[in-house]
Each structure stands twice: as structure tokens, then as C-alpha cells.
Assembly symmetry: C2
Homo-oligomer: 219 residues x 2
């Protein structure tokens, strides 16, 4: 199974997504948060582009049934119920509710990829389930790493490499796209000490500075 | 020496270049062509953004002193003296002349990076000289891989990894940017069979289809 991989969402266009099964990865933290919220009983998670779109959706819902979540610069948005830490998305808060999620990279990537035939949010938390799902679809697969500030994010690239490793049963195909080769090679180099590699990622260091180290352990 | 690395030029902005020594890499083929033209006695190579800019510069020069070179879709531009194959840039053609070079990725990357303190065009052909030059400057270093169609290009990323390996004396520093770690890791994985890795790059396969296989051997 060949795969197209985008190492940051900033280089995708809608046409790239058509007719494909698209997996959007944002390990730290949007996709980990989405996966957690659904696991804890949220009815739905709606990724949005910006505050205006979030506000518009919220204005059409009963205040009891939704929760606004998201971040700018890594911190909770003023007036929102929740930030972007998956640990905030407990059953008490999200069970039976719709979550409107607004983040800098991950939810924008999901919004830009919405033209896909099938669209999946992935992180290390649900990697096995994502692989099972992708195997069942007949479309070609595109993996979109959200990245950070239009650049590559190591944690997303490593997660893409892990998905490819599973989808390819540990055998890199030939030919392969340059970006898929990159993600697969990085994963193969770092897989024996994945936790350490992830802690060295630039975004991980930033989260530690912002006192979100527990999010790293969780994600 | 820490290094910022951009894996495609599409994500750089002028502000990223200020006060820095910037190395632009386009192995296949713009930077290899520039290096070759200068080595074969060209007086100067002027990278330009598009045909309009190329025409404007040419119109101000004596037709005897300049040569127009460049490609779109890998093929020579209609009416130009030269394409983007470095093998065309022989002493007979370029010695003592100015070359105006117009390509899809490499010269655009150079044009976008012109706000740098020092700007260097790099390929495998002049890697040693580039490393010597960078060591002599006191600025922070940024490596810009031209990439291809806004995406990562394996050959440029491997060349970036080689430069980092030399600049770091084979020891990856800590902390390091995610993109520099990516380029360095790819190079370390593929260095023992670099030629084979380069032949597997998507752009290399495309050049073979276009009957430019000799350019691969040369670059």
C-alpha cells in the first residue's frame, strides 16, 4: 500500500484529499484530545478553523449540550470551557455532550482535509484502531501531519512512521514517496527509544515549559 | 552549531532569513547547475523568480554577455539558450558570461532567501566548500531545501543531512530542531548507500523518465 504523506498541513490543498482515505495526525495535542473526548463519552467533536466558526456553531446549540475547547499559543482560549489538554476531557465534563474544538494546527488540518472520502484523526492513542480502519477502506491513503507553525513536528512524523510500519508489515515498498520514506526512516531509527525521541521534540520541550509535562506522558 | 532547516522553501518567509547565513539546496538540478556554471567560468549566475523577471534583466544586457537558462516541468523553456541540465553549462557556452537562471523550485528558493546576511547555493558538488564557508561566518545557520512542488525532496534533505553531519563533526547536538534531526537521521540511515537512496528519490525517477539520467550521475 503506497501512501502520500504531508509533513505539515500547510502544503495541502483540497484537491489532494479527494477520493482518498485521509489520516490527520496531531499528537500534541489536538488529535489525542479528540480521541480522549470520544473515549470518555463525548457525542461528537467538531474541529473548527477559528474562534468565529466556533462561536457560530455554539450559538446554534443549547448551552447545556456543548463545550468549547481549544488553545492559542498552547493556552486555553479566554472564555472557553476547556483548553487543549486531553486530561481535561473527563467523563464528567464531556459525556453526552458535543465538543467544539479550536486549535492552532490540528483542527485546522482536519478542516482543510474535509474533502476526503474518509477522514480519521490519529495519535499514538488510537494508532491500532486507525490501522484496522485504513486496511478496511479501498481508497488510496494520505497521511497529513499537522506539524507546528507550518513546519515539521517530530512527534507527528514519528506517529506517521509507526502507522506506515504497521500498514506495510515492516517492509517499505518500492517505489515510495519521499515523504513516506522520511517518516518511515525516522520511526525505524527512533522506535527503540521512542519515548526519549518524543521528549526531545521541539513541541514537547515547549509543553514542559508551559507545565503540561503530564500531557506528554499521557499522549 | 544549531541549525534551522526548512524541508521545502514553500514555508519560509523573508523574516526567517534576516541576520542568518542561509544555505539553499536544490540538488536536482538548479544549485548543481549554478555551481557548475561558475566552475566553468560564468561571470555570475542570477537566479530569478519567473519569466517576466528573466526577460527584464535580459533586456538591460548586451545579448553577447548573457545566457538565459531554465526549465518548467523539467524541460527547457521555449526560446531560452539553455535548460536546467548542468551538463549544458560548458565553458564554451558560459565562460565570461552572465547566466540568468529561471527554475521551478531552486531559483525561487534563492529569490525568497535573498534577505539573508550570507546566501549560498549548495549541492553535493560543492558541499565541502559550503561547510568551510559556513564555519567561517559568525551568523546562525539556516538550511533551506528547495523541495519539489511544495513538498519534501529526498535528495535535498539528504544533502542537508550531509552538511549537518560535517558541521557537527558527526555528533548531533542537543537540543536540535525537529527538521534538522529529520535531515540528519535520514542521512545517517542512507549514507552507506547514498547513491542508491538518491536514485530512489521521486525527482530522480522523474528525470530518468525524461531522459536526464546522466544528470543524476553528474549531480
Amino acid at each position: 500500500m503506497d501512501a502520500e504523506v504531508f509533513l505539515t498541513h500547510s502544503t495541502i490543498s483540497e484537491g489532494d484529499m479527494q477520493g482518498r482515505t485521509v489520516v490527520v495526525i496531531d499528537v500534541l495535542r489536538a488529535c489525542s484530545t479528540i480521541v480522549t473526548a470520544l473515549d470518555r463519552g463525548a457525542r461528537a467533536v467538531m474541529p473548527v478553523l477559528d474562534m468565529a466558526q466556533a462561536g457560530k456553531i455554539a450559538s446554534n446549540l443549547d448551552p447545556d449540550v456543548y463545550r468549547l475547547g481549544g488553545e492559542r499559543g498552547g493556552e486555553k482560549i479566554d472564555g472557553y470551557h476547556l483548553g487543549n489538554s486531553p486530561r481535561e476531557y473527563t467523563p464528567e465534563v464531556v459525556k453526552g455532550r458535543d465538543v467544539i474544538l479550536n486549535t492552532t494546527n490540528g483542527t485546522r488540518a482536519l478542516e482543510k482535509a474535509k474533502g476526503a472520502d474518509h477522514l480519521v484523526a490519529a495519535s499514538f492513542l488510537n494508532a491500532g484502531r486507525v490501522v484496522d480502519f485504513v486496511r478496511q477502506t479501498t481508497n488510496a491513503i494520505t497521511i497529513v501531519c499537522a506539524g507546528r507553525q507550518n513546519r515539521i513536528a517530530l512527534e507527528d512524523t514519528l506517529c506517521a512512521g509507526l502507522l506506515l510500519d504497521r500498514l506495510w508489515d515492516g517492509q517499505e515498498p518500492y517505489p515510495v514517496s519521499d515523504s513516506a520514506h522520511t517518516a518511515y526512516t525516522l520511526y525505524h531509527t527512533d522506535q527503540d527509544d521512542l519515548e526519549n525521541a518524543l521528549r526531545g521534540a521541539n513541541h514537547a520541550e515547549r509543553l514542559v515549559q508551559q507545565n503540561y509535562e503530564e500531557d506528554l506522558n499521557y499522549c
